[in-house]
Symmetry: C2
Subunit: 315 residues, 2 copies
DNA sequence: CTGAAAGCGCTTACAG
DNA sequence: CTGAAAGCGCTTACAG
């Protein structure tokens, strides 16, 4: 067998040029010898590593865990691999690090979740290999989530149940996604004639104890209905209420975002905006695979995020 | 500047051979040109990719999300990157896939969580680049968790509170880690004179609805104290109990494994065996980094896993 | 420090 | 189909 024939078969480009029986023979021998092509050499020669970066706030957050898991499944079906990049604690440096990994050829492309590019971001040079999730970047491929509509529905539901005031429990991270969710809620409150109560002190990280303490301060302030940036925050508020004997939903209504498993594990179960991780991840991998193939497909996908009404709201 | 000098500086091997001022100048120019070395070429030449595989059951499980997050932090501080491999649904193929990634040079080494090698596993040829977590592999580097002692403490605690019978809610996955946890509980029950009640039907996946349904069957069977393979299962039992008005811990005592965030989000909070993900991940990355460097260090690390008593047990 | 060179293991035209 | 060849961008002895 010639080196050329083997290379053609192993890289799956033998169609029409190598007979089926020869190709099969090559594959058999390769398998029996335990041979698999050196990926570094292939990457060097072809200029593409087949590795996708997935930029997330924090892989330990269950939603991003789901994204990772689903994106890995979607990538594997295209012979692509996944590499994770966390932004938590690296707000100032992740763009440069990702740009380095792109320019060094380590990554062929990347999916950026919940973050916006800085004005002079080194990533702007790589626009054609990037996909943005939830926070669309003008002119770049994006997976848009319809959370504004879901937030509107949530506020409408609270208003219909008699709430005249809604408080906001914010996530204490600089990610653009949280600024966007808050803005959506401000707009929804305005539309439905509800007063939105926000406070710089009502911001918490996802650490359970921290979030519970902040939630406790909100209860001290007498809030009766709270929209949260994230389920983890909503569940911490749920916990703080249980700790103080505040009845949910009679005395306190809670709405989260995410629909994590934990949302159904508490009692009463959490009303929340569902973020369908598998669907989002599949759309993002689709888009980045198209980008790598040089396709000029539509660059924006929209994923529905339904409001799921459960026991932490009335009506 | 010569190519050699630049290469020496960029790969951090200039110590003593290149003057500090020249090295600094090279770094400045590289930065201003936006140059970073092609990693595929470096991997091809040096034979190592700097990529670590992390084998987990399912990245969407919060515990593995924490492992991923912590391992990524630990790896980054050593200029190593992380790539995840999921075994859920690939019980028959993950070993071959990992072996392929090792032999193709894609991965320099790997951390295997909660799995045991098949007798004729292709991974046995790569023993010197592998680290096993929780399920130690004889003769290979391992991070051992002291869960047997914690399970013993849990059963002792239940026995002291008057339980004469303990039921077991098992995880419905073929991973070796769950077989091990069950065996630990059998041994503990025996030691403390408690009857262990197990049933082939008392097995569930981590899907909330499935697990709740199985937990409901256990309640139908009149169980009063349950040790679970995992917090997610324990929390589903907690949910099933709330749904039926079964009082916890008065009528039902529950013990989990993991100490996920969700364990503190429910009321009463979950008694569980804490698995310190950050510590486990750091130890595993340590071990694999040593392996890649060819060091002959002690090959087994033990991590303590304390029993955390909370509201789902009495006494 | 420099400069010229080899070689890692592929992929990909190219002539037969 | 084969065979000989170039070249991807590095790292690493080697002689100066």
């Amino acid at each position: 067998m010639s080196q050329s024939a083997v290379s053609l078969v192993m890289s799956g480009k033998s169609g029409g040029r190598i007979s089926a029986s020869t190709a099969e023979h090559i594959r058999e021998v390769a398998h029996s010898l335990g041979y698999s092509p050196n990926l570094a050499a292939r990457a060097l020669r072809t200029g593409s590593s087949g590795l996708l970066g997935l930029v997330v706030l924090d892989a330990s957050h269950p939603f991003y865990g789901q994204m990772l898991s689903a994106a890995d499944d979607a990538a594997a079906s295209r012979d692509l691999s996944l590499s994770m990049i966390q932004t938590r604690g690296h707000a100032a440096t992740w763009e440069q690090r990702l740009a380095d990994q792109l320019s060094s050829g380590h990554l062929a492309g990347a999916i950026v979740c919940g973050e916006r590019l800085a004005d002079a971001s080194p990533l702007r040079a790589w626009a054609d290999r990037l996909v943005f999730v939830e926070v669309p970047e003008p002119g770049m491929r994006s997976v848009v989530l319809a959370t504004a509509a879901a937030t509107d529905a949530a506020v409408a539901h609270l208003a219909a149940a008699g709430c005249t005031e809604v408080a906001y429990l914010a996530a204490d991270y600089p990610s653009a996604v949280f600024a966007g969710r808050f803005a959506d809620c401000v707009a929804a409150a305005d539309r439905h004639g509800v007063a939105l109560r926000a406070d710089p002190a009502w911001r918490a990280t996802f650490d359970v104890e921290t979030a519970t303490a902040v939630a406790g301060r909100m209860l001290d302030a007498g809030v009766r209905a709270v929209v949260c940036d994230d389920d983890l925050l909503a569940l911490a508020l749920h916990r703080a209420a249980a700790g103080r004997g505040v009845r949910v939903p009679e005395d306190l209504e809670i709405v989260g975002v995410g629909d994590l498993d934990a949302a159904r594990l508490v009692s009463p179960e959490l009303t929340t905006v569902r973020l369908p991780a598998a669907e989002i991840a599949a759309a993002a991998v689709d888009l980045v695979a198209d980008a790598l193939a040089g396709h000029e497909t539509a660059s924006v996908r929209t994923v529905a995020t339904p409001l799921v009404l459960r026991g932490t709201t009335t009506g």
